[in-house]
């Protein structure tokens, strides 16, 4: 065991049941992520990147194997336990932003705090993060009044408002133009460097992957290379 590791995965398998057919999505993944690391995960469609994310983020349980996130054994967690993990341990950033369309940017962030059992405005330091994200003056707008880049930055703010141990970004630039993509990637790198935020990012884009400290290559449900 590596004491500095925030994620430790050993021989992880995940099989989905599609009708009467078993579809293996992960076939023995081994992965270690250090605290404060920015790790890019690349691979073709169907290589198991998203499934790996979903397991690390507690959205679905592993079929077999060992997965430890911040010391928590995910294979032993119940549905309620995984819900608790998502509430405090991980923050998600999705390709499609996934903001609640009925709420303003401020309320989208507030709802994450509320679900985590925190009431009232975020800590004083969070104002600085909002400035860094460039959305401090856009908080009273609903998602449909925000550009794609702004929506993704609100999603990042929402993902980190509860100080999660891990930030999971699934194709965060997939729906953005080049300029906004670069801005979002730099923000993720800033968060990683300034706040020592552990970041795992799925991407198809080699340029985006280069923002990470390391890159993990996946194929056919396995990690085939780490650079």
């Amino acid at each position: 065991m590596n004491n500095g590791a925030i994620i430790q995965i050993r021989n992880l398998h995940k099989t989905y049941n599609v009708g009467e057919v078993d579809v293996p999505a992960l076939r023995g993944v081994d992965l270690t992520v250090e605290k404060g690391e920015f790790l890019s995960i690349v691979g073709p469609s169907g290589s198991g990147k998203s499934t790996l994310f979903h397991i690390i983020g507690g959205l679905t349980p592993p079929t077999t194997g060992e997965v430890r996130v911040a010391g928590e054994d995910l294979s032993a967690l119940t549905d309620a336990g995984r819900t608790r993990l998502r509430r405090g341990m991980v923050g998600f950033v999705f390709q499609k932003f996934n903001l609640l369309p009925n709420l303003t940017a401020r309320d989208n962030i507030a709802v994450a705090r509320f679900i985590a059992g925190k009431n009232g405005p975020p800590e004083a330091g969070f104002e600085e993060i909002l400035n860094m994200l460039g959305i401090a003056k856009r908080l009273d707008h609903k998602p449909n009044a925000l550009s794609g880049g702004e929506q993704q930055r609100v999603a990042i703010a929402r993902a980190i408002v509860n100080h999660p141990a891990i930030l999971l970004a699934d194709e965060p630039t997939g729906n953005l133009d080049t300029e906004n993509s670069r801005a979002v990637l730099e923000l993720l790198r800033d968060l990683n460097q300034r706040l020592r935020q552990t970041v795992l990012m799925i991407t198809h884009n080699p340029e985006a992957a280069a923002y990470g400290d390391h890159t993990v290559h996946m194929r056919d449900g396995r990690v085939v290379e780490r650079t």
């Binding site: 609640l100 369309p101 509320f114 679900i115 929402r158």
Partner: protein
């Protein structure tokens, strides 16, 4: 945060929310209209009974509150008039003319005037000829009749001689002899009103009359007893009918909310996935759905109460004499509560379905 989330969800789909609230309001209106009609018609009957200002009312043998099959020979009026403490006895003949609620009452006007001082008129005069009738304000409004108008009732053309204030015995008052002729009920009445020398003697006279073996099975009641008898409890079948309508209210509320929330949950599958990805528990998701159903139920109750004023206005405008509706505020929370139960029950299935949703599938929902 939960109220904000729920409120914004409702606001985000204004047409769905509005239609749901209106549909939920329908059973509320149904219940309030039925209860309002029950109260209105019974209170109108009670008011008109009290408005006679008699002390004792004698109904035909074996008759009930709402049915008077047997006539009473007019000679009986004289029999009652000779009883101790009886100052005046007036026999009247009541005949349904439109349905069972609209009665034409034939009276001997001089005898009636002698008993209680006569009707209070808002227009016109007492009848001047056998073909003259007086009608109350309700009936005048329903028939758009004025003094001098002619109305065809019981296949006979009557002239409206006067319009009296509401709440005085009858909606339509005709000449007793004329009505007896028309109904071939010569010499018959079907109710006798007794006015005593002193109202304090009512109990004594009533006791004496009911103790007379020859008057066995004759409903003999004080005016107050008769007026009080016009209650929901004394109307056979009315309470069960109200309960049936209440049951329908629960069922409609259930299905409307079930359908509405089921649609809402489907529409918001992705949002439910987002909340789950943020760590929202099943209880939190269920709470949001139930709170939204509660809000729709509340809005539906308000809509239903407002719509019941529409029923009240329509009934009061179109058929004020045939049926009377009353606004009964004490029933607002009852009707609302009944519908709310349906709404909450209806939201349970969609709510539990949302709570159990797989977050990955929900997030992938387009």
């Amino acid at each position: 945060m939960t109220p904000r989330l729920v409120l914004e969800n409702v606001r985000h789909q204004p047409m769905r929310s509005l239609l749901s609230a209106l549909l939920i309001g329908v059973p509320v209106t149904l219940i309030l209209t039925l209860v309002g009609l029950s109260h209105g018609m019974l209170e109108d009957a009670a008011d008109r009974t009290r408005g006679i200002r008699a002390d004792i009312i004698v109904r035909p043998k074996n008759s009930s509150l709402v049915s008077m099959r047997n006539g009473i020979p007019e000679d009986f009026v004289k029999y009652f008039a000779r009883k101790p403490h009886v100052k005046a006895a007036v026999g009247v003949l009541m005949q349904p003319v439109e349905g069972i609620t609209m009665m034409m009452t034939g009276i001997d006007m001089p005898a009636y005037n002698a008993m209680n001082g006569g009707f209070r008129y808002v227009a016109g005069t007492p009848p001047q000829s056998p073909d003259d009738i007086v009608i109350d304000e309700y009936y005048a409004r329903q028939k758009k009749a004025r003094v001098g108008s002619r109305l065809k009732i019981l296949n006979h053309s009557w002239r409206v001689a006067g319009i009296i204030e509401n709440g005085q015995m009858a909606h339509i008052v005709a000449n007793l002899k004329m009505l007896q002729d028309l109904l071939s009920a010569h010499g018959d009445v079907n109710t006798i009103y007794l006015k005593l020398d002193n109202s304090a003697n009512t109990e004594e006279v009533e006791h004496e009359l009911t103790s007379d073996p020859r008057l066995e099975d004759w409903p003999i009641l004080s005016t107050e007893e008769m007026a009080s008898a016009w209650s929901i409890d004394n109307m056979p079948g009315l309470k069960p009918f109200i309960y049936v309508v209440m049951g329908i209210g629960v069922v409609i509320g259930f299905f409307v909310v079930c359908l509405s929330m089921y649609m809402a949950v489907l529409q918001r599958t992705r949002e439910i996935g987002i909340l789950k990805s943020l760590g929202a528990s099943k209880a939190f998701i269920l709470q949001i759905i139930l709170a939204e159903a509660f809000l729709l139920g509340l809005a539906g109750t308000i809509a239903g109460v407002v719509l019941s004023f529409g029923s009240y206005y329509l009934i009061g405008t179109l058929v004020p004499a045939s049926i009377q509706m009353k606004i009964v505020p004490v029933w607002w929370p009852i009707a609302g509560g009944i519908t709310m139960i349906g709404a909450i029950l209806g939201a349970l299935y969609p709510g539990m379905r949302a709570a159990a949703a797989d977050p990955i599938e929900a997030l992938a929902y387009e």
